[in-house]
Symmetry: none
């Protein structure tokens, strides 16, 4: 636990107030000589503007000045975990397993798998097995699960994620995640064998088990028309994050559609809810469960996807879609609502960036400032200033009257 | 290595892009009731203004809030080394030795010396030996070097720096830098003997060698008309900083006229180039070597000297001189250019100060903001915000497309 978390843990108290944290993934943008307005500045957002008018704005540094975070570190920071603390590093395998609600325990090594197509010579011809549909992926996972339920004293769990993506979890004593990806990252190359980077007995055992799994799996899949091979990546164990309940005395839930975000939320102790694919579906879920929780992580994915695609119009449309859905959230009368992002995904960059993300907080003690829109340029002059994402939770808790005074 | 550096080291990759970091030494100023405009705000700087117009501005905290740095820590921070980490402390002797390109190794203890004038009673009558000219200082250094090439198993290197200033480097086994300055800091007092602050064998040996050097040197210099004495200060060893090549995968060079800045740059792994004394000379050097490097530390000294002298007009003149030279740098089309300072030297204070320094970055992803001048008041409202100098390198690397994403 970081000193910041020790402090919040000491001061947090259980109350009836409710906090909604809306993460509009990658919503922030940048200005360039040729592009003077960001998606947020262009979108028509009367409801966000009104919220900014009666709230306060500022900016969050997602990770560190100049350092562009992935979605994992970006969300960890928003949830109050310093993403640069090595103990909080979440491997991709664990994220993926949590994303499908697989109940990880400390003795499990989780991996993220891709089905691929292999040619007659055993080299990869398609790294995504022709993007087989999800039911096809699920069928092959079932076949693998049935054929390879255990190797030595290690239980093997193979579960579908989406299309050609799946998880394999190695569950047994004396394993460690020191295995390198078996993905050569290119077509025309053979998949790699299991290779440990560690000289320990656990490293050797894990390498042996994983290799045995690969050998058996390739046999089982040999007759598949498309997905006749697989690669395993991101070998990882649950980092055992301190949970929201323990840290903040919250009863938290997550409303998110994509596995990765559901995964991080689950590792932080949130109950990950089933929900639909649209923002309106997510609002409906929020309303349904309103009485059961006091912290709601509400994730909007497609601002990021459109930013990644360089699609300004698409990004604007998602922002406006959220703006239209916002009154539905406000109807529930959250004591504190924050709207922000895990990182910027400027459409002009077609990717994540390090830039500070806009932040809007509306709550009884937020210190209403002169800013009247949720945009990069307004947030730059807001009363909340610019600070690191991992400090946001303290601000939300205190606005919700959940933090005691420090010292007398 | 600090966590910040570990992170950048992990994420940095070699690319073809080029970064220019211009340090206008001490360029920042402050406002007082009687002095409403700083040198930067008064100077006529059309080129800097235009660069600000298509770039982003902000402010750097050179060392720590309220803490005034010397030039050493100020530059260390700009180069990404936390100046408050004790292992990164660079003794004055080492700075001086690096400044004259003396090739230090870990077994050497370097000191910075001043020649002084002694009266008949052996007390100091002039702490700078009447500011003897450089060739005079060089002649005496040669005389000392010839007379005292070695003491026991320790080689002695005595080298001129400038005027009455020189370096003596003690090069042998079992030495340590635990020797106090022999300078009494006042005329009318005798120079001090070598005194170690340590009880180790190395401390005793170093004290013995240094004292023997002092005894012999005073004899050798006894017949000099002015420089008939010397003091040694700043006993230090090379701190062994991780280098730019290792940290950032950069091939860096330094264009700076003064020994101290050349020294810090050399310790950070930069190739320290020969250059002329004017800003125009420095620009010419930059152009000559443009193809050989991907990071250029470009130092402008006299903004600081004029600030130290309380000379507003002089400071403005140097700023305008740099502004006139700026197009020559921009002609080379650096991918990223930053202009900032190691600390403020407000002319109203006639010395360094702790105040945040103005920062201007122009690069493809700098996030062009509404600021249109490189001044203290404009930088206060720039989109880069205010952050610690040691985080600047990350921002420059990312703007130059040299940093991978952190985490998935």
């Amino acid at each position: 636990m970081t000193p910041q978390q020790e402090l919040l843990k000491k001061l947090a108290s259980k109350t009836d107030t409710k906090i909604v944290l809306v993460v509009m993934d990658g919503v922030g943008g940048i200005h360039t000589v040729d592009s003077a307005q960001t998606a947020l500045e262009t979108a028509n957002t009367p409801n966000l503007d009104a919220l900014a008018g009666r709230g306060a704005t500022g900016r969050l540094i997602p990770c560190e000045v100049g350092v562009t975070p992935g979605s994992g570190p970006g969300h960890l920071a928003l949830f109050g975990y310093d993403p640069l603390v090595p103990a909080y590093e979440i491997g991709r395998g664990v994220l993926e397993a949590c994303g499908i609600n697989f109940p990880l325990t400390p003795s499990m090594v989780a991996t993220r798998g891709n089905f691929c197509s292999l040619g007659a010579d055993g080299t990869i011809t398609d790294r995504r097995a022709g993007r087989i549909p999800s039911d096809e992926g699920a069928r092959i996972c079932q076949k693998l699960q049935k054929a390879i339920p255990r190797i030595e004293d290690v239980k093997i769990h193979t579960r579908p994620v989406k299309e050609y993506r799946f998880c394999t979890i190695f569950d047994g004593p004396g394993l460690e995640p020191s295995i390198e990806d078996t993905d050569p990252q290119k077509v025309g190359l053979a998949t790699l064998p299991a290779r440990t980077t560690s000289a320990t007995a656990a490293g050797k055992k894990t390498q042996r088990i994983v290799q045995a799994f690969l050998d058996q799996a390739f046999k089982v899949m040999a007759d598949e028309p498309k997905a006749n091979g697989l690669v395993l990546r991101g070998f990882a164990v649950d980092p055992g994050l301190p949970k929201f309940q323990e840290l903040y005395k919250l009863t938290p839930c997550a409303i998110a559609t994509y596995p990765l975000y559901r995964g991080v939320a689950s590792l932080a102790g949130m109950e990950v809810l089933e929900t639909g694919q649209t923002i309106a579906d997510e609002v409906a879920t929020l309303k349904e469960v309103w009485d059961k929780f006091d912290f709601f992580f509400f994730h909007v994915k497609k601002t990021d996807s459109n930013g990644e695609d360089g699609n300004l119009a698409g990004k604007i449309k998602v922002i406006e879609e959220f703006d239209a859905a916002l009154p539905g959230i406000l109807e529930m009368k959250p004591d504190v609502i924050a709207v922000t992002a895990d990182h910027c995904t400027p459409y002009v960059m077609k990717g994540h960036s390090y830039h500070p993300v806009p932040l809007l907080i509306c709550g009884p003690t937020c210190d209403v400032d002169a800013t009247v829109a949720f945009t990069e340029s307004e947030c730059l002059r807001g009363s909340l200033g610019t600070f690191h994402s991992e400090k946001l939770m303290g601000l939300l808790l205190d606005n919700a009257g959940k933090l005691l005074k420090f010292g007398s």
